[in-house]
Symmetry: C2
Subunit: 123 residues, 2 copies
DNA sequence: ATTTGTGCAAATCCTTTGCAGATAA
DNA sequence: TTATCTGCAAAGGATTTGCACAAAT
């Protein structure tokens, strides 16, 4: 994989943002740093990174568009119904699937984050 | 929601199949039972059922197309890397997200099912 | 009769791809 | 040099929608 300005920019965005942007959001952000970049390059680069296992692709709650996450370890995503933010959450739990070989786990959790839960009780 | 032949057929398919079919697979199956049915009716009906909470939509491992499941309780999906089958799995685990209000959980697990794991050891 | 549902075709949204020119090694 | 990467525009796949007709209440 050659080092190009486009790939540097995409990697930098993924490393700095932890809000799980879509390909289009990454493209919009990248244009500020490198205006000539194209949307297809963003898609191509993300696809390659996913295939290499450097980035994971998530789709919360049946969304048609994918979001990207440079955190490749097994972890859960929590989306707040109120503010829409997506939090990374580490969950340790005992998987006892007798005879099954578990290679990857994706967990999506929906509800209210601590701040919004407080507000709802008050309202 | 009026009772039409189309909706009866779609419900019957969802109730009988537990292999998490896509909209197109439901359409193909439905045509055997009611040839005049259209793909857009299948999509429209599924979307309505999802909005009513009668059916859930899942997208395993970044698949672009949705799959449908009449089992609406919180449960995990296990996809076998080898045979591709998707198993429903009940997992009880303690969620301790302090201050967070959990309303829904989606868990996707990937690996080898018991049968395929045995074969891999032997091979 | 009135409201809701349907099929069809066209539109839309997200993503991928072919190609000819550009760039990193 | 030369293999890989890029932008563009066009194609592709999944899903949604406008509309006039059909069916359910």
């Amino acid at each position: 994989m050659r080092i190009t300005k486009q790939r540097e920019v995409i990697l930098k965005i993924l490393a700095e943002r932890r809000d799980h942007p879509t390909a289009f959001e990454i493209y919009e952000h990248a244009k500020n740093l490198f205006p000539e970049i194209s949307l297809s390059t963003v898609y191509r680069t993300l696809k390659e990174m996913v295939e290499r296992g450097e980035v994971i692709e998530i789709r919360m709650d049946g969304e048609t568009k994918a979001r990207y996450d440079i955190n490749t370890g097994n972890h859960a995503h929590f989306r707040c119904r109120n503010c829409g933010r997506i939090f990374d959450i580490e969950i340790l739990f005992p998987l006892k699937l007798i005879g099954f070989k578990v290679e990857k786990v994706e967990i999506y959790i929906y509800g209210l984050c601590d701040e919004c839960a407080k507000k709802e009780v008050m309202a």
